[in-house]
Subunit: 235 residues, 2 copies
C-alpha cells in the first residue's frame, strides 16, 4: 500500500502554563476572559475550527486541571481535548505534551495565550511543515531597533530580524528527537530547541493580529481585535 | 546673569511625510481619521496639551500644505503651528524643520503618525534630554526574535534589543550639528543621525500604546486605543 498520498495525522499541543504573576492578577492569564469566555477556550476553538479531526493536546499546570473542567461545564464548552499536566517550564510542558503522541505526523505547538490565531495561519503552518519539516510563524519588525552594547546602544538593520510567534509546527519525530536534549534557559521556544538539535528552521509569515497576551493592555487589545476579526468574517 | 535655572526653550518638530502608498489608500496616512479627526491633529494636540508654550513646527510635503489648511478650517482646528515644507526623505524633512529653529533649547522630533503619544512620554523626553543631551523613547521586545543569517535564521537574545519610537528629543545645537552630515539610507531616525555624528544616545522607557500607524490594522487599533486612553483619563 502506497501511503504517500495519505494525509498525515495532525496534532496540536496548546501550552498554557501561566500563573498570573506578570498580569498582577490572581487569575492565570489563560483563564482571563475575552468576548465572555476564558481566552484559552478561544485558542482551543481556533484549532478545532481549523479541523475537527485534529488531535488537540492541552497542557495545563496540574493544579489548574480541575478548575478548567469547571470552567468548561460553566461555559458549556465541549470541544474534545486530551489534557496533559504541564512541567516546571515551557520546555517541560511541551515535552510532556509530546508524550501523548503516538506515531508519525505533524504537530503544531501553540501558546494558549494567543487566542487570535487564524485558520489561515494554522493551515499555512501544517502545509509548510509537511514540506520542510518545520514551520515557525514570524513577522517583520515595524519599527527601528537598537542593540544594547555594554553601556550604550547602537542601531541595527531591522530588516534582518523577525519576531517569532506560534504556531510552530514540526514533523512529530523531529520534534520528539529534539526534545531529548537537555533543557537550558536559552530555549525559549520550540524553534530554538529544534535548532539546538541541529536542524534548520523554516519561517513563514505570521500575523500582527496573532498577539500573545501578557499584559492587561494586551487583554484589552485582544478583546477589540477579536471584534475586528469577527466583523471581517461577516463579509 | 546666571541662566542655569532658566527653563530652556522647547520645540517640537512633527514630521508628516506620508503619501499613502503603504496604506493602499489615496489619503496620506497622516490625514486618515481617528475619533472623527485627521490623526495628525491628535498628534499636534498632544504636544500642545503638554505645553501651550512649546513651539510646534509641522513639516508637511509641499503639495499637502493647502489641504492641511482646509482640514483645519473644516475641523475648527486652531492650535498655532509653524508650517515647514518637507523634503524627499525623513532626513531632509527633519533638516528643513530644524531651519525654523533659532537659538539653543531642546527639540523633540516626533512622527506625525504617532497620535497616541502621552503627556508623560513627552515630559520624560524633555527632562532626560535636558540631562543627557538626548532622549529616545524605546520599548522592550515582548516576543522572541531571530536574525536572518544567509539562507537560515538563528535565535538571538531579545533582552539585548529595544524597539525605537519617537519622541526623540535632543539639544538643538547637537541635533543641528548632527544633521550637517551627508544623508545615507541607514539613517532611519534621528538617533542614528546623532550617533553617526559621534554622540551616544540615551534611551528612555516608551509605551506600547505609542504606536506608529502604517497599516489599516494600525489605524483600527489606534481608534480603539484612543478610546482606552480617554477612558483612563476619566478616572
Amino acid at each position: 500500500m502506497n501511503n504517500s498520498l495519505m494525509p498525515e495525522k495532525r496534532f496540536a499541543i496548546i501550552v498554557a502554563g501561566g500563573r498570573g504573576n506578570r498580569m498582577n492578577n490572581e487569575m492565570p492569564k489563560q483563564f482571563l476572559e475575552i468576548a465572555g469566555r476564558p481566552l484559552l477556550m478561544h485558542t482551543v476553538e481556533a484549532f478545532y475550527k481549523f479541523s475537527p479531526d485534529l488531535s488537540i493536546i492541552l497542557v495545563l499546570p496540574e493544579d489548574q486541571i480541575d478548575y478548567w473542567s469547571i470552567l468548561c461545564q460553566n461555559h458549556g464548552f465541549n470541544i474534545p481535548v486530551h489534557i496533559q499536566k504541564g512541567g516546571k517550564s515551557r520546555f517541560q510542558s511541551v515535552r510532556n505534551g509530546l508524550k501523548s503522541i503516538d506515531g508519525e505526523g505533524l504537530v503544531a505547538v501553540h501558546d494558549g495565550v494567543r487566542p487570535l490565531v487564524s485558520n489561515e495561519l494554522i493551515a499555512a503552518s501544517f502545509l509548510i511543515a509537511a514540506m520542510h519539516g518545520s514551520a515557525v510563524a514570524a513577522v517583520r519588525l515595524k519599527e527601528s531597533i537598537r542593540i544594547i552594547d555594554k553601556d550604550s546602544t547602537r542601531a541595527v538593520d531591522r530588516a534582518r530580524f523577525r519576531v517569532i510567534q506560534t504556531p510552530q509546527t514540526f514533523k512529530v519525530s523531529l520534534l520528539k528527537k529534539a526534545y531529548e536534549i537537555e533543557e537550558d534557559e536559552s530555549m525559549t521556544d520550540d524553534a530554538s530547541v529544534v535548532e539546538r538539535a541541529g536542524h534548520k528552521i523554516s519561517l513563514f509569515e505570521g500575523s500582527y493580529f496573532n498577539i500573545k497576551i501578557t499584559t492587561p493592555e494586551d487583554l484589552w487589545m485582544a478583546e477589540k481585535l477579536f471584534g475586528y476579526q469577527n466583523k471581517e468574517n461577516d463579509y
